[in-house]
């Protein structure tokens, strides 16, 4: 029987990984008003690159190259494809739809390459576990919590202290006023997409690591559990993405952990739980936990 503490720790680890993905959704949305439906496929690409490269480059080298590649891909998609439609709110809707098409393109190709395989990413944690008092936890999950914490703290520092972060926040509040201050809107938002792309490759590592069996073609869809996390957080709020991710991660872990007690809900309720939580939160707070003015951009 799995103890409550085990479930909580698993939930935190899951939430930490979702946070990497959800933060990506939020950063891209804040910068461009676009919901990137291709984000899961970009994540899958990151994982796939690590899987094929780690034999030659080692895990660290493969991870670095994958992060750079997905960052470059996401940035280029935004800069050279999406931005051609313009910068205003109407254009953002068109761009959001366009990401669905991009998702299909990337996913179809990757699915063809991966097929039914389970790919190992060669991460250094393997199936090692650590005893923390009464609970036993996979090293990969501890690593997920530690790495996510550091990376997310770094992203928040970027928002707060760098000219890019200030540009991004200013442009999200008032595009035209930011332009008048000389903020280069195209560059700022493309960099935001780069950041999100890089975070996705990092998240792929932990989604494929033990106790998951490895990278499979559906890993990108699992990552989309971060999507309700971003929405229930408020979609334009990085803090909301964090809170939402932890909430979704904990819910999912607890539902899965107590599935036998919840069998009235049917098998596999863990898959649905994130969306159920999202709907419940949105019923009470339609703009999300931290969404002040809703998702609308000026």
């Amino acid at each position: 029987m799995t103890g409550f503490l085990d479930n909580v720790l698993n939930g935190l680890a899951l939430g930490a990984v979702y946070a990497l993905v959800a933060l990506g959704f939020v950063v891209m949305f804040k910068a461009s008003g676009v919901l990137n439906f291709a984000h899961g496929s970009v994540l899958l690409l990151g994982g796939y690159l690590i899987a094929v490269l780690h034999d030659d480059l080692g895990f660290a080298g493969a991870l670095a190259l994958a992060v750079l590649s997905t960052a470059a891909l996401a940035g280029a998609l935004d800069r050279f494809l999406l931005q051609r439609a313009g910068q205003d709110e109407q254009a953002a809707h068109i761009q959001t739809i366009a990401t669905i098409g991009i998702d299909i393109l990337i996913f179809t190709d990757l699915a063809r390459r991966i097929g039914g395989d389970l790919l190992s990413l060669g991460d250094p944690w393997g199936d090692a576990v650590t005893e923390l008092g009464p609970v036993t936890v996979a090293d990969s999950r501890l690593a997920a919590i530690a790495v996510s914490t550091v990376v997310i703290a770094a992203v928040f520092a970027l928002f707060r202290f760098t000219p890019w972060g200030l540009s991004l926040r200013a442009a999200a509040e008032d595009l035209e006023a930011a332009a008048l201050m000389g903020v280069r809107l195209r560059r700022v938002r493309a960099l935001a997409w780069c950041l999100a792309g890089g975070l996705a490759a990092l998240a792929a590592v932990f989604l494929a690591a033990f106790p998951a069996p490895g990278l499979e073609r559906t890993t990108g869809q699992i990552a989309l559990h971060a999507f309700p996390a971003a929405i229930l957080g408020g979609l334009a709020s990085p803090v909301g993405a964090l809170a939402g991710s932890l909430l979704i991660g904990l819910t999912e872990a607890l539902v899965v952990g107590y599935e036998s007690d919840l069998h009235v809900l049917g098998d596999g309720f863990g898959e649905v739980a994130p969306y159920a939580v999202m709907l419940l939160v949105l019923l009470v707070r339609p703009t999300g936990l931290f969404g002040a003015k809703g998702a609308a951009r000026v």
């Binding site: 200030l166 509040e173 008032d174 595009l175 006023a177 332009a179 008048l180 201050m181 000389g182 903020v183």
Partner: protein, 261 residues
Amino acid sequence: MPEAPPDEPSALHIEDVDVTYGRAVSALRSVSLTVPPGSVVALLGANGAGKTTLLRAVSGTLRLHRGAVTAGRIRYGDTVLDGKDPVAAVRAGVVQVPEGRRVFPGLSVEENLRSGGLGLARRGRAEARQARERVFSLFPRLAERTHQAAGLLSGGEQQMLAIGRALMAAPRLLLLDEPSLGLAPQMVHRIAEVIREINAQGTGVLLVEQNAGMALSLADQAHVLEVGEVRLSGPAAELARTDAVRRLYLGETAEDDQGAA
């Protein structure tokens, strides 16, 4: 393109400029005017006359409204501004304060001021500190509220912040769009004093106003726009005496009024 605003103020030349929105709606036709170095020029006109459009053409934000300069030329000194990104204007030393203040409401006063320097490529700490000190000496109230969210300031304070934010880029020419809009008379008076002071420090001003009395009292030269064309031009003091301006913009009724104003 110069990396920092040139030290010497230049003249802004707007020559025969046409502006069209959405490739169909003509907003400005053959507009020409000059802002000599370090002077204050007022631009008057009713709603929809094209005043804001003209500022957008100079600052490079027409594209955000699906508009474009379709003819003519806009230069600041030797730098061509028409068809360029807003950052080109900022780096040339031309900075616009938008209509309705448009401070970043969720950012602190401090961050709003920092955002004013975002367009400059690189600048020394000394220059940034100098710009900040200038802003705080003009607006001591902002110095007391650096950590407050800009959205919580009063209307007058927001206007000060909007001007202060623009001054952080150390502009040679300031484009002001309706700075008196929605402010109490006392605050309008204060803003007018500030504009005079900024100009006395060597910064040129192109002032768009509906409050013609205030604008004409500040300006050296003035132009009146009507449906996209310059109707009247001349020294501000002279324009203030013409019947048309007095009747239409200063709210006075001429004794031999021939038609309804």
